[in-house]
């Protein structure tokens, strides 16, 4: 092939507004890495994007099986995307199991990139194929591009110093190179990353770069490809952006909160999927004075954090569903002794071990009521990776101002997915520091349960401060002196006091705002359904049907104007990745009928599903 024909073989890239790409392969194939790097170069290119990693709970599930398939979906666009996309336009399948597990999601006519080397008899049987889909015509509805990725990678990395079967580990970079050519992504950011991760001129680094370039060049030199695509940079609001993963943003929000509270940060946590990466991220930032403590269990995680709070630190514990259950008893103590504490719950599929790596919104009622006794707590939620920084900061602000534990609800989707985040001006973040108690000038004894008249917060005196030595504990406190009290009336007073204190937080949070039009239908959501709801509402609005969206950051207490907002609409639809938990709270609180739309599949809510339900309601039909 001459250079001339090469040029001819390369068509003009087709300009598209957005594309949803899913990388799928065996969990040992490095698909998370390929997807993450594709995302990173797209971000640096200036596209808007949203991602959805999806991997098995097992680190190495049996190779070649459906159970062992790991995938990474990314939605890149020249416009403001809010979701990782409902269905992929392009699927990369590294083996038959990946194809079998994901083909049904690919849009008809979509682009299918296949590693043909993996489609041999043994793998076909493991995936449950009776005939080879590459040969039996079952893929005729798609644009199929096959490449013998094992073989080509082996040849490409011959001179790298990597030998034997280890050469195949670079095939994810071959796939990444090929995808970078099809979607016209620059290779430089990936090569730079390879250098920083594996070192320059190391065998593994060399192999990965060679495989990356080989994949890219495979795109240029083969005639398989009739077109390539380009997605222009998105017209996002002006500012400086980074591509942030939800758990990282949560961790950074906590570091920022500690900085603005002028307190050292303490995190006591036990590793649990998908919360662990917050502990990992914070453990790296000792130069911020962050003390991270990996506890012996979930109970010691919150216990150590509560101890640190007593000692006057901004204290955090992070967990996921089963871990929240274990923390419940100490959380009750924390609210009894009224100390600031942030409990981050990354909701995942439950009950029990459930779906550890998948998303669910099913801890809302547990966060609300999952404690013994009358034990109200504020609940703050986050709606997206780009919102997690603010949500974590806000949880800390409330905890400190009201001297209370706060539960921050995020979920497995927000935790692991990423999107562009417009960086805040950190100097402009509010000061959220609260003064420690001081000794009474008139010599009156220190009363640890004497309250601020507005916030009802009790004073925070910490060990080391002279003249305010005091004891706190789980036994009921006298409302005035803070001493142990078994008095019946006092217990009732204190029960109301604890409730009123949390209720007063409503005076300190913003009204819920409404996006959209009309008085027919309000879609009310919370948490990670934000992107899907907003996308669905925008699509329907564009088609001329009026519909509105409100999204709750504060689940307890709820914004003061919520009742009035709900009352403006004939119907209220609440989509949730649970059996209708917010719906129950809304019905109980406001005595209005709500329509629940629930999906519990361990996957993020899809915009199309919500769109369908909205249309049904607007047409006077029942939702599913």
């Amino acid at each position: 092939m001459s250079d001339e024909t090469l040029t001819e073989a390369k068509p003009e890239p087709q300009q598209i507004e957005d594309v949803v790409i899913r990388f799928a392969g065996d969990s040992g194939d490095g698909m998370q890495l390929a997807g993450t790097q594709f995302t990173a170069s797209s971000a640096l290119f200036g596209n808007d994007l949203a991602t959805l990693p999806n991997f098995p709970a097992e680190i190495r599930a049996p190779a070649g099986t459906i159970a062992g398939v790991s995938s990474f979906q990314v939605h890149i666009a020249d416009w403001d995307v809010l979701t990782p996309g409902d269905s992929p336009d392009c699927l990369v399948a590294m083996n038959p199991a990946a194809l079998k597990a994901h083909l049904h999601d690919l849009v008809k006519g979509g682009l299918l990139i296949i590693n043909s080397d993996a489609f041999e008899d043994r793998n076909l049987v493991k995936a449950g194929y009776e005939t080879n889909p590459l040969e039996d015509g079952s893929l005729d509805a798609y644009q199929v591009i096959t490449a013998p990725m094992d073989e080509l990678t082996k040849i490409a990395v011959e001179d790298s110093g990597v030998k034997g079967r280890a050469t195949l580990r670079s095939k994810n970079f071959f796939a990444l190179g090929l995808m970078s050519w099809i979607y016209q992504r620059p290779l430089d950011p990936v090569i730079e990353w390879i250098g920083s991760k594996f070192g320059t001129d190391t065998p593994v680094g060399n192999a990965n770069e060679l495989a990356l370039r080989a994949g890219y060049n495979f795109g240029i030199t083969t005639e398989s490809f009739h077109k390539t695509f380009v997605i222009k940079p998105a017209s996002l609001p002006a500012g400086e952006y980074t591509n942030v993963v939800g758990n990282t943003a949560t961790a950074w929000g906590l570091v920022a909160a500690a900085d603005k509270a002028k307190l050292p940060l303490f995190i006591g946590s036990y590793p649990i999927t998908p919360a662990t990466t917050i502990l990992e991220e914070l453990a790296r930032h000792k130069n911020f004075g962050v003390k991270s403590f990996q506890a012996e269990d979930e109970i010691a995680g919150i216990g150590s954090a509560l101890g640190a709070a007593f000692a006057g630190r901004l204290a955090v514990t992070t967990t996921s569903g089963p871990g929240l259950a274990l923390k419940s008893e100490t959380l009750s103590l924390a609210l009894m002794i009224e100390l600031p504490l942030i409990v981050v719950d990354i909701q995942r599929g439950g009950p029990s071990t459930g779906l550890p790596t998948k998303v669910e919104q099913s801890d809302l009622l547990f966060a609300m009521y999952g404690r013994h006794g009358e034990s109200p707590l504020p609940i703050v939620s986050t709606s997206a990776p780009s919102d997690a920084f603010d949500a974590a900061f806000e949880a800390a602000r409330i905890a400190l101002k009201f001297m209370t534990p706060v539960i921050l609800l995020t979920d497995g989707y927000i935790a692991t997915s990423s999107e562009p985040w417009r960086l805040p001006d950190v100097d402009a973040l509010p000061d959220i520091s609260v003064p420690f108690a001081s000794v009474d000038e008139d010599g009156d004894p220190f009363l640890p349960y004497l309250r601020d008249p507005i916030t009802m917060a009790r004073p925070w005196a910490i060990p080391g401060q002279a003249g305010m030595e005091h004891r706190v504990g789980g036994l009921e406190k006298d409302a005035t002196t803070g001493n142990v009290s078994y008095d019946p009336d006092n217990h009732e007073t204190m029960t109301h006091t604890r409730q009123d204190k949390i209720a007063r937080i409503a005076d300190d949070i913003p009204d819920v705002s409404v996006h959209g039009e009309g008085d027919e239908l309000l879609v009310l959501g919370w948490g990670s359904t934000y992107g899907a709801i907003r996308t669905a509402v925008n699509r329907i609005t564009r088609k001329g049907r009026p519909v509105a969206h409100a999204h709750l950051r504060y689940l307890n207490p709820m914004p003061k104007n919520l009742g009035e907002v709900l009352g403006r609409y004939k119907q209220v639809l609440i989509p949730e990745i649970n059996m209708g938990q917010l719906s129950r709270l809304i019905r109980a609180e406001f005595l209005i009928p709500t329509v629940s739309f629930n999906r519990i599949q361990g996957q993020p809510m899809r915009a199309r599903e919500i769109e369908t339900q909205i249309n049904k309601l607007l047409d006077g039909e029942d939702v599913e």
């Binding site: 101890g307 204290a315 008893e329």
Partner: protein, 338 residues
């Protein structure tokens, strides 16, 4: 105590009525602790007492220091947070055989192995007192209680053996009624860097009276108290006629005249190998018959809190103080123009 002492015992007493049963061994321990603290030149506000649940765990309410009465079994975990957050504090954990060895066993062993800067006082009365008399993890086999009417079939823990097996760097045992020895043990533990466990045989005169009678009755006590003194041969008895030898079989009690004083084991609490201390701890499986009292093990290991402070200082030295604006840009950024 000299006239120049900064504090009196009363400085550590609170206005709260002490509500243990009359005759409870906890009163003596409280007095010993208050006396010891008053003898120190440490600001009162720098002491923190943390307890779990149980009779002993009411202790913080009676100490005029900072205190937390927490969740059953969780005191070592909560105290870990306090000690880690602020290494300048002196943190005391008050626990019992049920609180510390049953529901809270996990936290106790991990606090010990990490050498957290905690002084742990384990009041062992071999019974559940606050719930009115059920067998505990240190009750003897065959003990008849309300929940073991046919006799307990649980094999008990030996708290000193457990602590030694948990990599504890300081382990000691004392008796509630021996205030001088208790205070000596408190001092040795407090002066040790990191986690210490002091088992205190504490008499529950209501639900398990005379559990330690072998060690307390004036007719039997001299023949049953094996005092461990650093650098000295382990001999005991009214006339020091008994001793302890340690060999490949373990540690056992002998008559000194049978082996000669030169062959009696000389105690070294700072022995880096915990095996000998463990062997000593196995001489008795409870306060029955000759039982060692004193410091079993006292070795130098850097405390968790101190090493963490060093890591933080090293990180700040290497990277400079935290820069929030740089942190949020650490994964690469791009700019969208207006």
């Amino acid at each position: 105590m000299t006239d120049t002492a900064r504090y009196q015992r009363s400085d550590f007493q609170t206005d709260q009525e002490v509500r243990w049963c009359p005759g409870c061994g906890d009163y003596t321990i409280l007095a010993s602790v208050q006396t010891y603290l008053a003898s120190l030149d440490i600001d009162r506000e720098k002491h923190v007492f943390v307890s779990g649940i149980g009779c002993s765990s009411r202790f913080p309410y009676y100490m005029n220091t900072y205190g937390m009465h927490t969740v059953h079994g969780r005191a070592p975990a909560i105290a870990t947070g306090i000690a880690t957050a602020n290494p300048e504090l002196t943190v005391w954990v008050i626990t019992g055989d049920g609180d510390g060895l049953s529901i809270g066993g996990n936290h106790l062993i991990h606090a010990l192995r990490r050498n957290m800067n905690l002084n742990i006082l384990l009041f062992n009365n071999q019974i559940y007192g606050l719930t009115k008399g059920q067998y505990s993890p240190t009750s003897e086999v065959g003990k008849k209680t309300k929940t073991s009417p046919s006799g307990s079939i649980d094999r008990p823990f030996n708290p000193v053996s457990l602590a030694l097996g948990s990599e504890a760097a300081f382990v000691a045992r004392t008796l509630d009624m021996d205030r001088n020895h208790t205070i000596a043990m408190l001092k040795a533990m407090h002066e040790h860097e990191g986690a210490g466990l002091l088992e205190i045989y504490q008499n529950c005169n209501v639900f398990n009276d005379k559990a330690f009678i072998d060690l307390t009755d004036k007719d039997t006590r001299d023949d049953n108290r094996i005092w461990l003194e650093d650098g000295k041969p382990i001999v005991f008895g009214k006339n020091n006629e008994y001793g302890v030898v340690v060999d490949h079989e373990g540690a056992r009690v002998i008559e000194v005249s049978d082996v000669g004083l030169d062959n009696v084991h000389v105690h070294h609490a700072d022995n880096p190998n915990p095996s000998v201390a463990f062997a000593l701890s196995r001489i008795s499986q409870g306060p029955y018959g000759p039982t060692p009292l004193g410091v079993f093990r006292n070795v130098k290991v850097p405390s968790y809190g101190k090493v963490l402070e060093q890591q933080i200082a090293a990180a700040q030295e290497a990277k400079g103080p935290g820069d929030l604006a740089a942190l949020i840009r650490s994964r690469g950024t791009w700019t969208v123009d207006a």
